[in-house]
């Protein structure tokens, strides 16, 4: 068996494990063990990958293996990883582990909760290792419905409506993606000589421009919905805000990245000519998302809404990076995915911790968190500083990479887009600091808040794990850059070869 399949098997076995036991505490422990194992495995895999690359492995994908799934349709379980998928896998493993830790205290339907969470992670892992469009799509969809239930059952607020909106919008996105990949399948037969879903094979085919254009828009918009691209983002604020903490972390941290990865690996990589020709449209949308998302964030009082809108703004950088079609911008988009994934997970974790204690998320009702709960307050501030792109944390690295990558284009259009995007970091500072000022600093607003306890051990660990991730990227970005450099170069070359 290929070792990559372990990425799917470990969570699956964990699922089996939690289905077999009764005690809630045991379920938590099994899930924790499974996710921790996954982090270790993912790290080991990365080390393995790096050493293989150092040893001179030049194949585009490593650990590749392929098994027939539906032979008549050419559907294979074809897996393999490159640097880009590896960093996404690492991200997923870390966020899931933190999510499990944060959810430790969940009392309602523990088994079901962790079941859903693990199922989601299976979807994400499978998505990132798939090299066959159909199996990729399978995993993409696998990660949709558990979200509905997670929000619907364990959520808060207008959870029914918001969960439904999320499920339906994501389903619409995946429907568009499906149209796109089915189109690719047939187009490969008509113009490439062989019906195939295989990304590697498809990348060698040269499809006619008009076909590429249609498929490019279908897949880009489809994955764009997952990414929360303007104007298809409205599931995100509502969904995030209603979701339980771990689900918010997962949604914003990983789920939106599924879209970003798809934008790069499918929409752009497989439709190079159309991407070169039409990506300007998505530059506009991304710029709007970045700038307007930030402005909309300004007005949010609910901390979760604030972070959700800010996610729309931040993920705009991913879309911008992908649409800019330069090597550095691609790298920036990938880094931004990882960075935002961890950062937003941390943010949601911090907000969740505050909400669990104070039972409010309104920044104007809170206050004095830092005084009463120094750890949580500090975590919030760190997440905020990462969000506003402070050097030393991951956000800075990725955003700067996107800017530098975008600046390669000389046209006034690209310049304006980049400057507007860069201007958003000022607005980001405004809303982050406002929230910090209101909610974290200041004095406690209610007497009963004086009794609140600081973070418990599980929350501390969750936060520490994520912060380590943020700081690692922030301080040693070259590690990640070296990991993905060759792969973004490959995508870039591919786009400019035809």
């Amino acid at each position: 068996m290929n070792i990559l399949s372990l990425l799917i098997l470990i969570p699956l076995l964990t699922v089996v494990g939690i289905l077999l036991v009764k005690s809630d505490q045991l379920i938590r422990k099994i899930t924790l063990a499974g996710s921790a194992l996954q982090v270790i495995f993912a790290s080991w895999l990365t080390a393995q990958y790096v050493s293989l690359r150092h040893a001179g492995a030049t194949a585009q994908m490593l650990f590749e293996s392929s098994r027939v799934w539906f032979r008549p349709l050419g559907i294979n379980y074809h897996i393999g990883v490159d640097g880009i998928s590896l960093v996404m896998i690492l991200l997923t493993a870390v966020v899931v582990l933190a999510g499990v830790l944060v959810s430790w205290k969940i009392e309602k339907q523990v088994k079901e909760f962790f079941f859903m969470l693990l199922l989601l992670s299976v979807g994400a892992y499978g998505f990132f290792i798939s090299l066959n469009l159909f199996s990729m799509f399978f995993f993409l969809e696998l990660a949709v419905i558990p979200k509905y239930l997670l929000i619907g059952i364990w959520g808060t607020g207008k959870k029914e409506n918001n969960a439904m909106k999320l499920a339906l919008m994501l389903m619409t996105g995946s429907a568009l993606v499906f149209l796109g990949i089915v189109g690719l399948y047939f187009a490969s037969g008509w113009f490439g000589g062989e019906h195939t879903w295989d990304i590697m094979k498809l990348s060698h085919m040269h499809l006619p421009m008009n076909v590429q254009v249609i498929l490019y828009f279908l897949t880009f918009i489809g994955f764009g919905v997952f990414t929360g691209m303007f104007p298809f983002h409205t599931w995100a604020p509502d969904g995030h805000s209603s979701a339980p903490t771990a689900a918010s972390m997962f949604l914003a941290g990983i789920s939106m990245k599924l879209g970003g990865y798809g934008l790069l690996r499918v929409a752009t990589y497989l439709m190079p000519d159309a991407a070169r020709e039409y990506s300007w449209i998505f530059i506009i949308l991304a710029t709007i998302a970045i700038f307007y998302g930030a402005l909309a964030t300004l007005m949010q009082k609910d901390l979760k809404y604030m972070n959700a809108y800010s996610s729309v703004s931040h993920v705009g950088f991913v879309v911008l990076g992908v649409a800019m079609i330069t090597k550095v911008a691609f790298a920036g988009a990938v880094l931004q995915m990882v960075s935002h994934g961890i950062m937003t997970a941390l943010f949601f974790a911090a907000i969740g911790m505050i909400y669990d204690r104070a039972h409010t998320r309104m920044s104007n009702e809170l206050g004095g968190v830092l005084k009463q709960m120094p750890f949580i307050g500090t975590v919030f501030i760190i997440a905020g500083l990462t969000s506003l792109g402070l050097p030393g944390f991951s956000g800075f690295v990725s955003e700067m990479t996107v800017f530098v990558g975008s600046w390669v284009h000389t046209g006034i259009f690209y310049r304006v887009a980049t400057i507007l995007a860069a201007a958003s970091i000022v607005i980001t500072a405004v809303y982050i600091l406002r929230a910090t000022g209101f909610a974290i600093w200041g004095t406690i607003t209610r007497k009963e808040y004086a009794l609140l306890k600081d973070a418990s051990w599980n929350e501390r660990w969750a936060a520490v794990i994520l912060i380590v991730g943020i700081v690692l990227i922030g301080l040693a970005p070259f590690l990640f850059m070296h990991l993905i450099n060759a792969d973004v170069q490959e995508i870039f070359n591919h786009l400019h070869a035809g």
Partner: protein, 644 residues
Amino acid sequence: MTLDNIVLLIPLLPLLSFLLLGLAGKHISVRFSGVIGSVILGASLVLALITAYDYFFAIGKQGGEFIPYLTAQLNWLPFNSDLSINLGLVLDPISVMMLLVVTFVSTMVHVYSLGYMKGEERYTTYYAYLGLFTFTMLGLVLSTNIFQMYIFWELVGVSSYLLIGFYFSRPSAVAAAKKAFIVTRFADLGFLIGILMLGYGAHSYDFFTLIDRLSHPGSSYLVAMTGASFLGMSTLTWALILVFIGGAGKSAMFPFHIWLPDAMEGPTPISALIHAATMVVAGVYLVARLFPIFAVGAPDALTVVGYVGAFTALFAATIACTQTDIKKVLAYSTISQIGFMLFALGVAGWGPGKTEGFTAGMFHLFTHASFKALLFLGAGSIIHAVHSNEMKDMGGLRKSMPITHITFLLAALAISGIPPFAGFFSKEAIFSAAEQSNPIIYWVGLIAGTLTAFYIFRLYFMIFWHKTPDAHAHNHEKGEWAMMIPMMLLAVGAVFGGFIPFGDFISATGKPLELPIELSHIILPVGLGVLSIVAAAILYRKESDVPQRIVNALGGFYRAAYRKFYIDEIYLFITKKIVFKLMGRPSAWFDRNVVDGTVQKTGSLTIALSHAIKRVQSGKLQAYTMYFFGGVLLLVVLLLYKFA
């Protein structure tokens, strides 16, 4: 230990202090944390002195000029094969000078705080933040790469934010911290875009590569960047102006100066360290760092720097004359003095005889650090005793606080440019440079210098004279040696700092430069300074109604100056009314009601449709079969129309 390691240790020691106190602070006894921080910083200062000695007298000079010494290079974020952010440390005259200033003032502030902050709730955290700031500031001055400088630039911003907001349960501190961060962030946007433009034009972010490529007339990069123009200015000019906007933000130049007075909400030692001596001069340092490019590639940008500096110098000095909060007076004074430094750089140029302004600006930066830090520490000591920032609560303190009184007086004389104090030398150099190249700036500077002497002595007299000293007053300074010793050490700098042959060490080209002091130049500024002091003495030495009458006579102008020329209100208008009301709220509304509304409406319309057409399923069999037959007919018509 080699020099490389020493240089690396200088910033790392404060970082160690930060990590130690920040992460393990709970396990360290409160009594020791301050001492630990101070000792570590002291070590850093010693290393900085060693480095300075090594650089200036051993390794720095080659062939009669100082050349940069690079160490600890790290390819931190490689973008492309030819473009990357490299981290590294550089020793050259200005960085070594800054190294000394930062470590010295920081050590003084560390020690001072042992007394000043005693008994504070978050004492350990305070020292951790101090360590963080010192680390980031040292990182900034030692940067070899403009992106690296931007990184530390942001980091000093955040340390400043944390320290201004140190008393975070005070709403005013929270607001001030926020304001400081956001205003500088806004300016940094310009810096960032400027960096992107420079990097794009010169294919590098390394300072020395940039200087190499952009300061030699005829270099292909320079030609490319000066060739293309946008709105009448070359790309390089734009880039440098944008970079300077970043510098102006950090250095609180008009119109970004508004954050600095508010930043006085932080503990006073912080004001001395960050908002007087070190961080706020980062803008000056930035311009100095890129000086060859400014001077050769974009003299227009340098002119902008000069005018902005001169205007701010005068503007802030005017406001300083009207303020009643002693820290606010000092804050405006700082803004004004940084204006001096910048216009000194602005009047300089490239080529023999024109670079005097550069050295003068740096010189003023150097001397200003000691006397302004001293003023702030003195103010801190007063506030510590009086528990108020307002001048009206003070008066006649010369008896109860003798040491503070003397040191404050020395610093005031220094800043007024009275010989032979430090400020005299640097200010004279500035005036002489300005007089040679730009008379407008010279005269503006002269007026600002006159006002400087006036407001600082207004402050001095209001604090230490004005009222008759309370006979029973006990000595407020008793036992606070931790506070007094740093003040005395700084006073030494304020008095003797001017005698350093500054031009021998620091110049734009690296070659020694003579700073001439001619009597004909001295008379006017010094004379005006003395006159101002006399005027201040007359007005404020004793309580009288003369100042009030002058105020009434000035009328609207005084009120405008007192209200800081309404700049804060303009900012407030822009943020509250334009950004929030006109941009934020409509965006949020649009998102909720239009974008999300469309989605929600699609859903509800579908359901409404479902309800609307339910009558089709009427339960009546004959109706059913009619639909059946209708369907048949429809298909028949369709197919026959299409295919037959």
